[in-house]
Symmetry: C2
Subunit: 603 residues, 2 copies
């Protein structure tokens, strides 16, 4: 092992255990504009010298590095904080150095205190260090510290900063064709705003293929009147760049997007990388698709499932760079049309490196753009897509219905919270859970309250507020007469909407409901009662949900002393406006089937 | 963000969470010759293709990589193992690939099972993949898997492999001058071997300086007859390369080393990087030392402590490379003289990068050399020295005497076990703990049994077996009339030696006593009774120690069902040869002051 090539020795200062970081710095940690980044490191060197340390950080696009000091804690721990005040990718590193002046002063002080008087050598040393002719003990002890010698540095780490909607928002999914197209939706914007929704998410709005179009209830053969699945993208009328004439024009879409923004609502569209047999790309870019040696194109399939109405692109094709660029251009086109939120269809069936590139590419110039991953897949891929750049992800929430399932689910989300942000949809066009099929309206209330209070981002797909609960067949999670394959007549009049509005407004008023990681689960002594406390920025909310949609349940809600709440305090139920006095310790709780307490602690 | 420069797309396969690794691969993990390296990784890609994976590993100095398969577990976990069969630095990485043949077969199988019959396209695809003219369904389903396509690779990680002594050994520290020098020690080798010691460790054997020599009990002025501290290295008779004429000649030393090896004993010497004022280097290499502007040399000090009899070298000097090389040459010189174990004095006051280089440099050609770090410092530096290459380290053991201190201490060692190996000395020339000062012979027994059974490597410094327990003054951990500053007349006749021999022989017979990480702590319902179970390679040992050196203690030792031991089993006490029947659950225990059970489970 040869000697180091450097002329000066390698740095003696060790900088280890730098946090926050994800996978050794391979991926950025995620934050929201205004968040603190609490930086920690283990910093030390041989000997007894006095060290100094700082975090150096660089905002997105900035050329200059900013610096804030790190403060020492026991056992060589150092800590400091900086605040991220705009979206984009921030960079930080830890630096540490030897403060020769402080070290010299400290050594001298200890000698003086020990009554040592032969300090001539020490003073000549100090004079040289301070660049002076002569030096008295008093002058030496008063010398200003702050010298930086032999500075060592950690690697750079990244912080990916998003705007507030990345963490906190109420989503509503609707098929525009069931609401009178873009214009129909536009007339309802004031009402959606009243209900407190932040995002309206549309399935693909593009022309729908005719070849192999699916009929009602996923029938292989469509009737002439069947509209087909919007996920079969592309027809003679255009591909991913076009809009389905049935919905309106691009101009009407842009008007809808603009007007929605005036109501504080964003329109999210679906980014689904697949093509119907009639998509222009099949003619223009046959090289982008899987073709068998016999010349036949391969439609999408997951045997025995077959999707004859769509073709997948081939990310391993020769012209993969052309394909990547074309897909990016599609996203950028819709960004130009005002879209700032994309729901991405099945990202786990496309290459992770593609997403890492695409999202960085788009956010470089448009850091406000939000990407929601529809990643219903195993944890490793689901979390890696989040690390690779997805702003939010769908979750396993719909399948977590018992107290223990919910605790395990939330524990997982908390483990992932440095990089993964959940969006808890209570249902989707593909997922009508058995709990909803069997539990009736009470079950819908339970799931709505859980989603809206546990997860800062949540969503419902239209029909939920009408308690729609009939599956296409026993044991299936698909809806009967699914809106994916037929036209519905929708109206914004579901009996659950008043509760939705109450929850959405409470979520906006109360900071504790806007974060995931401020939760403490509470003992209820009843498996059917799920209780937790959320607290943030001076607000405290206690939620107790009766998971049983059939029977009333009694129990307690135990608020531990460790919460720091007063021995007794007033609470107001945000759902009923009733007030009670609660206490540290055991609070009696009795809830009708599927009912909940959402209790704001009054101050 | 530009498109990747590569002509092929970036690997779609993700390889994450590779273990074992230390600090993201910055440092190697440690193993012993014959150990398994259990490799784990999270491996997955988008889509439904069948993956294959392997661990590729390279022995020290080898040019060819070897390979063993990884087996898939649920949730994208993959695991495999390789065995390290020789000392030195091994390298490994994880590779994974898409098996196109297996993927094709699996897709075809699912289609056939689903009764799909239009398989012409699939078969043409398979023919092309398998490079054949035609293909039948039967042939396709029987195609041999094992194709490797688009292989992805993890970074390389290192495994530093040592010989057995690195983990397991019984050490005895002695000042040769108190035993008749090298020849005196040589005559005692058969006795040391009988006692079951593996290593005899000598403080520095070099000529001792005369200038500012310390007198008895660390007196500033030495009498002419005082021998001085062996850590004040160097005189007219030579420096680190020489031996103190009082101890014998280099030839006698070499003879001692060789003869010791015949008895299965290794001689460890002290590597102390410091020089007495009379060390030849001060004249030959004044540039290697701290010199004040006024020309005075700086002796070692840690104010108010002053070590006027030694000078530290200046690792920041201009000629640091010359200094590094000279220190390496000293170590290599003693390796040539047969020394294979070095105890390193105060490594935490020298630069970590120097140690990382020196140890790698020496072990590159001499992978059997063992370095023991005398790192009595804070955890961050102590563990970093281990990561940087020290084979073993002294520990906080001497200061951990209560049940809770011991549990916390062991917990820390287990956390560090991938890179840090403890050597639990019960005392040193610098450390006579208050527990020994006050506890009398019973306390010495307690500490001996704990060290020998908890830690695979342990040591005692001569005098311990005589129950020497008088401090230089109240509140000090220094010995009165410390051997560091005066000549003693030592003999191998301490009353504790029979117990030492019993323990050393038990340690050699029973694999469970040769590892650290096979320990389970047992409930005793008495704070004074410390109980644990160790098990390895079919051997089980239950140890219960009465930590109270003054009073007998009663309690139980609860052996949990989870140990998998039979409901009832015979145990033999290795200290008394008594036998009992023990059971799963509560076993009554009563022990006199400081006494212990060391119970071998009989099979």
């Amino acid at each position: 092992m040869p000697l180091p090539k450097t002329t000066t020795p390698p740095p003696r200062i060790q900088i280890l255990e730098v946090t926050p970081q994800v996978d050794c710095g391979r991926f950025p940690v995620k934050r929201i504009v205004g968040d603190r980044v609490d930086v920690h490191a283990r910093i030390f060197r041989d000997g007894h010298d006095v060290l100094g340390a700082a975090v150096r950080y660089r905002p997105p696009g900035a050329s200059r590095w900013l610096e804030l000091p790190l403060e020492p804690l026991p056992n060589d721990h150092w800590t400091g904080v900086f605040v991220v005040d705009r979206p984009g990718v921030w960079t930080f590193r830890v630096e540490a150095w030897t403060d020769r002046v402080a070290s010299y002063r400290e050594e001298l002080r200890r000698k003086v205190e020990a009554g040592q008087d032969d300090l001539a050598g020490e003073l000549s040393e100090g004079a040289a260090l301070l660049g002076r002719e002569t030096l008295t003990v008093e002058e030496a002890l008063a010398a200003p510290a702050g010298d930086r010698h032999a500075t060592a540095s950690s690697p750079n780490y990244c912080v990916d900063v998003d705007r507030e909607l990345a963490r906190f928002g109420a989503w509503y999914e609707l098929f525009p064709r069931s609401w009178g197209g873009f214009e129909g939706v536009r007339t309802l914007l004031p009402r959606f705003a009243e209900l407190g929704f932040d995002v309206l998410y549309f399935p693909p709005v593009h022309p729908i293929g005719r070849t192999n179009r699916k009929g009602r209830n996923n029938a292989l053969a469509a009737k002439p009147s069947d509209p087909g699945s919007p996920w079969a993208i592309g027809s003679d009328e255009g591909g991913h760049e076009a809009v389905d004439p049935e919905l309106g024009t691009v101009a009407e879409f842009e008007r809808l997007v603009a007007e929605a923004r005036e109501h504080g609502i964003e329109i999210a569209i679906d980014f689904a990388i697949q093509c119907s047999p009639d998509h222009p790309w099949l003619k223009e870019h046959p090289e982008w698709f899987y073709r068998r040696p016999d010349g036949t194109l391969k439609y999408a399939e997951n045997p025995p499932k077959r999707y004859q109405d769509i073709y997948s692109v081939n990310f391993d094709c020769e012209d993969w760079k052309g394909l990547w660029a074309a897909l990016r251009d599609i996203v950028l086109l819709w960004v130009e049309r005002g879209v700032t939120v994309f729901r991405v269809d099945n990202p786990h069936t496309k290459p992770v490196p593609f997403w890492e590139w695409l999202i960085a590419e788009v956010r470089h110039d448009h850091p406000d753009v939000v990407f929601l991953a529809e990643a219903f897949t195993r944890p490793a891929m689901m979390t890696t897509l989040a690390k690779a750049g997805f702003t939010q992800s769908y979750t396993y929430f719909t399948w977590k219905n018992t107290r223990w399932e919910l605790l395990e689910f939330m524990g997982q989300l908390l483990d992932w919270s440095q990089y993964y942000r959940p969006n808890a949809f209570v249902n989707t066009p593909d997922i009508l859970h058995e709990y909803l099929q069997r539990g009736g309206p009470a079950a819908f209330e339970v799931r709505l309250v859980l989603a809206a209070t546990l997860s800062p981002s949540y969503g419902i797909y239209s029909g939920f507020e009408h308690f729609e609960n009939v599956p296409v067949r026993e044991g299936s999670e698909e809806y009967l007469d699914s809106e994916k394959y037929e036209l519905k007549r929708r109206a914004l009049d579901g009996p659950l909407l008043p509760l939705v509005a109450k929850l959405n407004h409470a979520r906006r008023e109360i900071p504790a409901l806007q974060r995931l990681d401020d939760v403490t689960f509470l003992e209820t002594e009843n498996e059917q009662l799920f209780g937790f406390l959320k607290r943030d920025r001076g607000s405290d909310v206690v939620v107790v949900v009766n998971l049983d949609p059939v029977a009333a349940q009694r129990g307690v809600c135990i608020v531990p002393v460790s919460t720091g709440l007063p021995p007794a305090y007033r609470v107001r139920d945000l759902l009923t406006d009733q007030e009670w006095t609660w206490r540290i310790g055991r609070n009696f709780v009795e809830l009708p089937p599927g009912k909940s307490h959402v209790l704001e602690v009054l101050r």
